[in-house]
Subunit: 253 residues, 2 copies
């Protein structure tokens, strides 16, 4: 049986300010929560229907509350609630040290769409990229829509928020900074390093003017024109990220 | 001034059955409608705020209705209505002939998410793929969420619906059929043709069992594993489509 206060608390975590205050977030659905059970985050409480609880082993230190399907609906943010909602602790920010520059990292300049951020985290996970540095204006990684869109990859990719200009000013000059730009040069004919920063711009405005001077190599994903010059103006931010990450990875193999 | 009937009619077109009945669909927002004004679809009527009408030239044969911001809100499906809503004709299905097999085409097996279909159409447009064949269970291309997600590419890519098994049975045996599969072989070490069919499966179920026998080459986008074997289980359908299309295009250049 759920108390009104619990329902209110879980619902409040849809908002950034309450996630900040309580340092908690919500993840839901059978597949995602099952994956998080074996993982990185500290789970505070599980709210699940009987059917789910009967088939999942939950560590003793995690509180468990059985809910009815009607109660689940009240605490779920999904159109179709899926058996379980988990309340989790937001971990303290990890300190990044210089070792992150030994590999490829992603840097996101104001990605606003939760689906895009979630998808980018999933792409990073697929391609073995373990660090994403976001501008302070990028959507919060613990926003429930982001959490759901990561499909569990949120537990394997370290996502940090910072002022990108300050960050880039402190990056050693030897580290390449790749920017995806419509006025860049064909990515397929450029040398790509095994490490460095790949900077991805906002969905509609692209990369901020004050970050452009930090870019050491401009990358363009070439399009293939058939309709007398008419074609898509650009690719979605997460699509561009995927193609660039795939190309860096292809060179390593 | 909008009549109640007009509002009701525009709202009804969110549903597939009414789009089928009237053979009409809705597109909205400054950028998208401006692009469609110069294009492929027959526009029946434009509903726009004064500010938009003052800055856009609209052909004489198109009906124009000025609406107030409050009226716009009633007919818009967007969270933030954006100046204009257009009512358009669904064009008759184009007959596909054998010439489509001279180039690369996409085939979608039950893509359910409107955002994914819209994004895939935008990717196709970017990479010069002009035909997409969808299973009858794929989300409708004139669904407003698909229309918006295409960002205008809907006017440049021919999207057809059919029974994929019947279609594939009729495809000449010389045409390669590529399938993206988790048990496929590394796409980067395979020969890829300049033409053929790239088959993309459903978001969670992948490619249907009854279509698997038609695949002549199985493609895997290799992942790069760092977390002791834990990694993203798969890539989103539109992400996989993008990476595959990019790789086919890279080989052509």
């Amino acid at each position: 049986m759920l108390s009104k206060n619990t329902i209110k608390h879980l619902q409040s975590l849809k908002q950034n300010k309450f996630r900040d205050e309580f340092r908690q977030f919500v993840a839901e659905g059978d597949k995602l929560v099952t994956e998080l059970l074996s993982g990185y985050f500290n789970i505070i409480e599980i709210f699940a229907v009987n059917e789910w609880l009967a088939t999942h082993k939950i560590a003793n230190h995690i509180s468990v509350t059985e809910v009815s399907p009607a109660e689940l609906e009240r605490i779920s943010a999904l159109t179709t609630p899926n058996m379980v909602v988990a309340l989790l602790e937001i971990p303290p920010s990890q300190n990044t040290d210089l070792s992150i520059f030994d590999k490829l990292i992603l840097m996101l300049d104001e990605i606003k769409d939760p689906g895009n951020l979630g998808t980018i985290i999933r792409i990073a996970d697929w391609f073995g990229i373990s660090t994403i540095i976001c501008s302070d204006h990028t959507v919060d990684v613990y926003n429930p829509k982001v959490v759901q869109a990561t499909m569990g990859s949120i537990a394997r990719v370290n996502v940090q928020y910072t002022d990108l200009k300050d960050f880039l000013e402190a990056v050693p000059k030897s580290i390449p900074v790749y920017g995806t730009l419509l006025n860049g040069e064909n990515i397929y004919t450029q040398e790509l390093s095994r490490n460095g920063i790949v900077l991805i711009g906002n969905e509609s405005k692209g990369i901020s003017d004050d970050l452009l001077p930090f870019i050491t190599q401009k990358l363009l994903i070439p399009s293939y024109n058939v309709n007398n010059g008419n074609k898509a103006e650009s690719l979605n931010a997460s699509i561009a990220t995927a193609i660039v990450c795939a190309e860096f990875t292809r060179r390593i193999f």
